[in-house]
Amino acid sequence: MTAADPGSEPRPAVPTASAAPAQPASPDQPAAPARYHRGRRLTGRVLLYLGLAGFAAFLLLPFFWMVSSSLKANNEVFTIPVKWIPEVFHWENYVDIWTVQISAAASNMGSWLKNTMILSVVVTLLQLFTGSFAAYGFSRIRFPGRDTLFLAYIATIAVPWQAYMIPQYKLMSQVHLTDTLWSIIILQAFGAFGVFLMKQFYETIPEELSESARLDGLSEYGIYWRIMLPLSGPAIASLALLTFVRTWNDFLGPKLYLRSPQNYTIQVGLKLFQADPMGSSLYGLMFAGSVLSVLPVAVIFLLGQRYFVEGVATSGLKG
């Protein structure tokens, strides 16, 4: 902080604008009001924490209920009054969910999870490669028509998928890709999102770096591979995590394209379970399935939070 800083105490130079409570009053003020202020500040702080704790409960209660119900017997999920903690922990729900028979089809949790994992990994890799590669072209190479092409990407971001899903479906079915995992890979891997996010990031890397590499005789592909990619670790991580989670959670795409139960993803499978007259009475199992569908995302999110937050903040786009 500079000398103009009115605060008399040394404090960390926090460049962020914070709405934090008032700084200590100037030294010439009498002591009593200062203590009064400090007391009020403490009350404010306690109130804030209480409010936030209540709010966090509202935010997280559904997840708590989901996990606790996944350990209940089927007839124990709905009781009056609500049991927040099961009396007996029915861990067997997590065993039975893999093999349980429901009327529409066998619950096929194993292959649903496998399909979802394959799709998420393949889509993420493709999106990373094509997105970061194209972004290099858009941000570092000047050629006629470049801005028009980029505008085409930007323009489509505001177009809802529902608006063009019909022609897209027709195209996919003409090349016989419906009801294959390929349809989802193609659907998700070439999004404008990755290009946009990576371009935003490249623009923060000084041009001089690639300029000097160019003088050293490195080709553009070499600059992309040896300079830009190694420097864009955080952006790559953001894009990878956001893409993985989006593909994992996608419901409508798989719902439309994957018609045979063995091709389902976990989300479509879970919905089948829920819509099934027999499955929908197996509450405990249904919740166990929900937990399984959320768990990988929860782990990834908790490990890589920082990248989610940065990805959202830099792109400002829906993840």
Binding site: F55, F78, G137, P144, A158, P160, G194, A313
Partner: protein
């Protein structure tokens, strides 16, 4: 090299460089662009044709001009219902989410113990699967035995709402879940916006003895104007195209009480007769609405930059 040789040479060299750059640039863009063009751009262009045709899942499109749109606005009460429901959802979800996410961002934008935890908690619903959360909320909303109505009875409401099984309360239930799910996401955008407001402004205001409320009103809000504007537009578009949440929570019911435009497109196209042409006309209407909001954003953005 002498400059006298010819004047044409630098020009030719420049055009060769340009051609080289074009090929190079395209080679970078191609892997993504080809996929993007086939899967997004071309279908969008096709939409503009098929919306004006009569076309069933099997068979070929037949040009019918404006017939689809005439039917849509004059003779299709389901479409009007869906349009009204979509506007209802937008009108409630937008201000709620905006206020909640702004409030959260301001509260959590401070260096205090535990703030990171609350930020994570707020963002968590947004990254979890919509199918799982819809399942949980639906059962929490169960009229007789669900925890929510038990709580409402406990605090003295003898006749709590029927939520997703009542045509009056199904939409509020969807709106609550939508707001719960999305406010953490917009909170992050607001937090990013808050970082751009210079700290000196707050320090100066404190020296002048401005209250917390007046600091919020005179510094925070004006400083966040670009962010708020961007978020408002995003939220409008996202609300107008709301789909998967409704699809998994209520499937449009009971009756048509939560049927939204996107769901209606899906129904007409992929359930029943497969009216691709007619459903595309609805899709075009949705497209035009979203495009309209985007253009408004561009125009106002441009104007505020000047």
């Amino acid at each position: 090299m002498t400059t006298a040789t010819t004047t044409a040479r630098p020009v030719r060299r420049r055009s060769r460089l340009r051609r080289r750059n074009t090929l190079l640039g395209l080679s970078f863009i191609a892997p993504n662009f080809i996929g993007f063009a086939v899967i997004t751009l071309v279908p969008i262009l096709i939409l503009f044709y098929v919306a004006f045709t009569q076309w069933y899942a099997v068979g070929t499109p037949k040009w019918t001009g404006l017939a689809n749109f005439r039917k849509l606005f004059l003779h299709d009460s389901t479409f009007i219902d869906a349009l009204i429901n979509t506007l209802y959802y937008t009108a409630a979800h937008l201000p709620l989410t905006l206020a909640a996410s702004l409030g959260l961002a301001v509260l959590l934008n401070r260096k205090m113990r535990g703030m990171a935890f609350f930020r994570t908690a707020a963002f968590f619903p947004y990254v979890t699967s919509i199918v799982a959360i819809a399942l949980v909320w639906n059962l929490m909303f169960s009229p007789d035995t669900g925890p929510i109505n038990q709580l409402l009875r406990f605090i003295g409401l003898s006749d709590p709402p029927g939520w997703t099984v009542s045509s009056t309360w199904a939409m509020p239930a969807v709106i609550i879940v939508g707001t719960w799910r999305e406010m953490g996401y917009y909170m992050l955008l607001f937090l990013a916006g808050l970082q751009t407001i210079p700290a000196q402004l707050y320090e100066a205001a404190q020296v002048d003895g401005a209250s917390a409320w007046s600091r919020f009103w005179h510094i925070t809000l004006p400083g966040l104007r670009p962010t708020t504007f961007f978020i408002t537009v995003m939220l409008t578009i996202e609300s107008m195209k709301v789909f998967d949440l409704v699809f998994v929570m209520t499937a449009g019911g009971p009756g048509t009480s939560t049927l939204v435009i996107s769901q209606l497109i899906w129904r007409r196209a992929f359930e029943g007769e497969g009216e691709f042409g007619y459903a595309s006309a609805i899709a075009l209407v949705l497209f035009v609405i979203c495009l309209g909001f985007t253009l408004v954003q561009f125009v106002i953005n441009r104007r505020s930059e000047k």
